[in-house]
């Protein structure tokens, strides 16, 4: 019953988009049916879709009879052909939402899409639809949804709202946050001079233009033994949203430019064996990257370019390319500060400083 409800929710979201897609889809198909249409809709293919396991499972079992007959009759658009070998894509899926869900099962498909768009980040604020109005779907508008699976629906459908997150904001509800994307693997003792060489410290992070410039220099100090660069030459953002490191990540200076540069470049989380304390503290304080600790040396088992998912609520990292799963350590004392949204929000919450309205 619950699954049917979820599917109903998908369908409702689907139909509200149907009108808008009617006009644009034909145009897009004429253009060659590429990624841009999906991106305009607020879906972030290159990073995969933040669907919970339940929704994915639900879509797999969707009965086509529930679908709006109009949508069912629409032919499979050209750009979905690459996954035609997947039986769900060809025979059962006739709607964009379900196709999106099916692509998750074939994660190699989503990674193939990643290279077509360089902005590989889950929360990249630059990718927001300017002209197409993405309906702000919320579970509250759909009465049948019960509260038990509302979080999943919110996570799945409200992707558009994520596009508006500013880099300095932290996801307030960490229990359902996930990070998904390509990973960049580095070794032990990556110090702040390698993360952001000192010559770029004249850039002031609180200045928005210089913040972006700082991001373009992230990890440029790594020695040339790292053949694959974190940011491609002539690019300003990275396609790797997760950095996997070894021991003592971020050692060296107290410069906050280090986590800021990583965050500005597009990294969302760092998973390291251990951290230097000032870097960890700065990551928590700024909310630029989420600092996670692994139980084992993940840096030795993952390679740059692997597709990984981090599920914060369950404290685990899944490497889709190798198929392995790893346990992450709980965030510890920094948890309340991150949950509150950084040191200032925490201080306001605990009454240490007056709230902004005062």
């Amino acid at each position: 019953m619950r699954l049917l409800m979820l599917c109903y929710a998908c369908w409702v979201g689907e139909s509200s988009r149907a009108e808008e897609s009617e006009n644009t889809s034909n145009r897009e198909e004429k253009r060659g049916g590429n990624m841009e249409m999906w991106i305009k809709w607020g879906y972030k293919w290159e990073a995969g879709i933040e669907l919970g396991m339940n929704l994915r499972a639900a879509c797999l079992q969707l009965q086509t009879s529930l679908l709006n007959p109009q949508i069912r009759r629409r032919p499979t658009p050209r750009h979905y052909r690459p996954i035609k070998e997947h039986r769900f894509a060809y025979t059962r899926l006739k709607s964009y939402t379900l196709l999106m869900a099916a692509s998750l099962i074939r994660t190699s498909y989503s990674s193939a899409f990643a290279f077509s768009s360089p902005k590989a980040s889950v929360y990249s604020p630059s990718v927001s639809p300017p002209s197409i109005k993405v309906p702000a779907f919320s579970p509250f508008t759909v009465k049948p949804l019960s509260s038990t699976f509302a979080p999943h629906a919110v996570r799945a459908i409200s992707l558009a709202t994520h596009a508006t997150l500013t880099p300095s904001s932290v996801p307030a509800d960490t229990s359902t946050t996930t990070f998904h994307g390509l990973c960049y693997v580095v070794g032990d003792n990556i110090d702040t001079d390698q993360i952001i060489p000192a010559e770029y410290l004249t850039l002031v992070p609180s200045n928005p233009a210089e913040y972006e410039k700082l991001g373009s220099y992230a990890l440029v100090g790594l020695p040339s033994s790292y053949a694959t660069r974190f940011i491609e030459p002539n690019e300003t953002k990275t396609k790797y949203s997760i950095v996997i490191g070894g021991a003592n990540f971020g050692c060296g200076s107290s410069r906050e430019h280090a986590p800021v540069a990583l965050g500005a470049a597009g990294a969302k989380a760092v998973v390291a064996e251990s951290y230097a304390r000032i870097f960890f503290r700065n990551s928590v304080a700024t909310g630029e990257v989420y600092p996670l600790e692994s139980e084992v040396r993940i840096c030795e088992e993952c390679k740059t370019g692997d597709v990984v998912t981090i599920e914060l609520g369950e404290s685990r990292l899944i490497n889709h390319t190798t198929g392995k799963e790893y346990k992450l350590k709980p965030i510890g004392d920094a948890g309340p500060v991150i949950d509150a949204g950084g040191i200032f929000a925490y201080a306001r919450k605990t009454g240490m400083i007056p709230s902004e309205s005062n």
Partner: protein
């Protein structure tokens, strides 16, 4: 059953005798618990149990305190708590906040964003702003950053702002000091028992004065600017006991390189490092500062040296503010204790590319070097230059490689030109350096310790091998990614300059 409600207090023996209790002996919670007990247990005393000793936490009764280490004591006083244990997260009152030209503008930006454009700092006398990192450069952004600091200080009427306007001649700026950590000490801002935070990792240098000093980022600094408090976690303490007479060829830099090589670059992460022992007591203030300076290279949160007569004498003419030193209790518990017999140590270097890549200087005598750099908060103080001058004097020869001298502050620069070197017949350090063929001492600042803008003096722009008295040698630290940096004491650096290879200073000092 009743005793399980509140474990710290011995309840059964006090039921029925509640009025005889002094309220100061028990916190409010146990009194409430006693009330609860009274409802459940009849008023008639049927048996009296001996008070439970084992579960009683000293902190709750306030009568018995477990011993605390120096760091715990300082933080306890600063957070107004009677007792702290490692792992506690407390709001600490900050005595001094220091920032410089690299992180200052960012901190100011965050301060204004969070507290408002018209917000005022919590105490205009407790914020010390010292431009020092990228000063003598034509880089526009670096110069603009100093201007941002100036505007902020004017607006907030900050009392201690060591400004510089004339970049061409540092002597024309009477306020300008130089490297922040050395300036803080020389201007008397470091006092025993206080809490000093700075937006630079080497803020731990000030721990040499027996205070809690550590580095923080821009966001934390912005928070402190507005509130004067910060949430800190109490660190456990590692104790380093150094005994034995300091040999004439060793300096504090060798001691700390020994320690870092021992515990590795992450050996003291989240921990405090306490330096005690007869050797430490024999060190002068600047040597102690060198010792505490590289605590962060071992991952340490802060380093402390107990304040003693050397400290008080140093502070006599520098500060008139009252201070109260604290000392570790005898029964304080330390995470681990390391003991060193200093008389057996030899001069060390840290090979590329990590400060814990320790090696004996004499074992590296085949490493040909291209330049020597003497400067920075670690190795650019008056005592460090005195040591180098002594070695040059003892050898009487000229250097074989370019030797860059960057005094840390204006005062150090002045000392170079005025202080006579003992045993030289009245010569000043600058004269000795000139005779040895070193470069003219440069304008005081952080210089090339961290590379900086491309036109920084002594920056490593090609892959070269350098022996340096600085604090880090990670790839690209002094500029070029393939540059090789050997960290060493001023003695070792001077000896290496004379031979053109990494050299043990005993070749010249004995």
């Amino acid at each position: 059953m009743a005793s399980s409600l509140v474990s710290p207090s011995p309840i059964p023996s006090f039921i029925g005798n509640k009025k005889s209790l002094g309220s100061s002996a028990f916190p409010a919670t146990s009194q409430i618990a006693i009330q609860k007990c009274k409802k459940q247990v009849s008023k008639k005393i049927v048996s009296v149990m001996a008070p439970q000793q084992s579960e009683r936490k000293p902190a709750t009764t306030g009568s018995v305190k477990t011993g605390m280490t120096m760091t715990e004591k300082i933080l306890a006083r600063a957070s107004e708590k009677p007792q702290l244990t490692p792992g506690d997260n407390v709001w600490v009152n900050v005595d001094i906040l220091m920032t410089h030209d690299v992180c200052g503008p960012g901190s100011i930006g965050i301060f204004k964003k969070e507290f408002g454009e018209n917000a005022k700092v919590w105490d205009r006398e407790k914020v010390v702003i010292i431009p020092d990192h990228y000063i003598f450069t034509s880089d526009e952004r670096a110069n603009r950053n100093v201007d941002i600091l100036r505007d902020f200080c004017t607006e907030q009427n900050i009392k201690y702002f060591y400004d510089i306007k004339d970049l061409g001649n540092f002597k024309a700026n009477p306020d300008y000091k130089g490297v922040c950590h050395v300036a803080l000490a020389q201007e008397g801002h470091c006092r025993p028992g206080e809490v000093l935070l700075g937006t630079d990792s080497h803020t731990c240098t000030a721990g040499a004065f027996g205070q809690f000093a550590t580095g923080i980022g821009n966001t934390d600094a912005g928070f402190v600017l507005g509130t004067g408090k910060l949430l800190l976690k109490v660190p456990p303490t590692l104790r380093f006991v150094m005994d034995g007479e300091m040999p004439p060829y060793l300096l504090a830099k060798d001691l700390i390189l020994q320690i870092i090589g021992e515990i590795s670059v992450a050996g003291a992460t989240y921990k405090s490092m306490e330096f005690v022992g007869t050797t430490v007591e024999s060190l002068n203030m600047e040597e102690r500062m060198t010792l505490c300076n590289m605590v962060v290279e071992a991952g340490g949160k802060n380093g402390v040296v107990p304040a003693d007569s050397t400290t008080f004498k140093y502070l006599e003419d520098k500060t008139s503010l009252p201070y109260e030193p604290v000392y570790s209790d005898a029964q304080a518990s330390f995470l681990s204790e390391y003991r060193f017999d200093i008389s057996k140590l030899e001069p060390l270097v840290a090979k590329p590319h990590s400060p814990d890549n320790r090696a004996l200087a004499r074992e590296c005598k085949d490493v040909k070097i291209d330049r020597v750099y003497i400067g920075s908060c670690t190795g650019g103080k008056t005592e460090d230059f005195l040591a180098a001058a002594k070695l040059f004097l003892a050898s009487g020869k000229k250097v074989k490689v370019p030797t860059f001298l960057v005094p840390a502050t204006q005062k150090v620069w002045l000392d170079l030109y005025t202080l006579p070197v003992p045993g030289s017949g009245g010569k000043t350090m600058s004269q000795i350096f000139e005779e040895a063929g070193c470069d003219t001492p440069a304008s005081p600042s952080c210089g090339a310790c961290l590379g900086g803008p491309k036109d920084t003096y002594a920056r490593m722009n090609e892959p070269k091998v350098c022996v340096s008295t600085t604090n880090r040698n990670f790839p690209g630290r002094m500029g070029h990614k393939e540059g090789q940096i050997y960290l060493a004491s001023p003695y070792t650096a001077a000896a290496s300059a004379l031979t053109g290879y990494v050299t043990d200073p005993r070749e010249f000092l004995q």
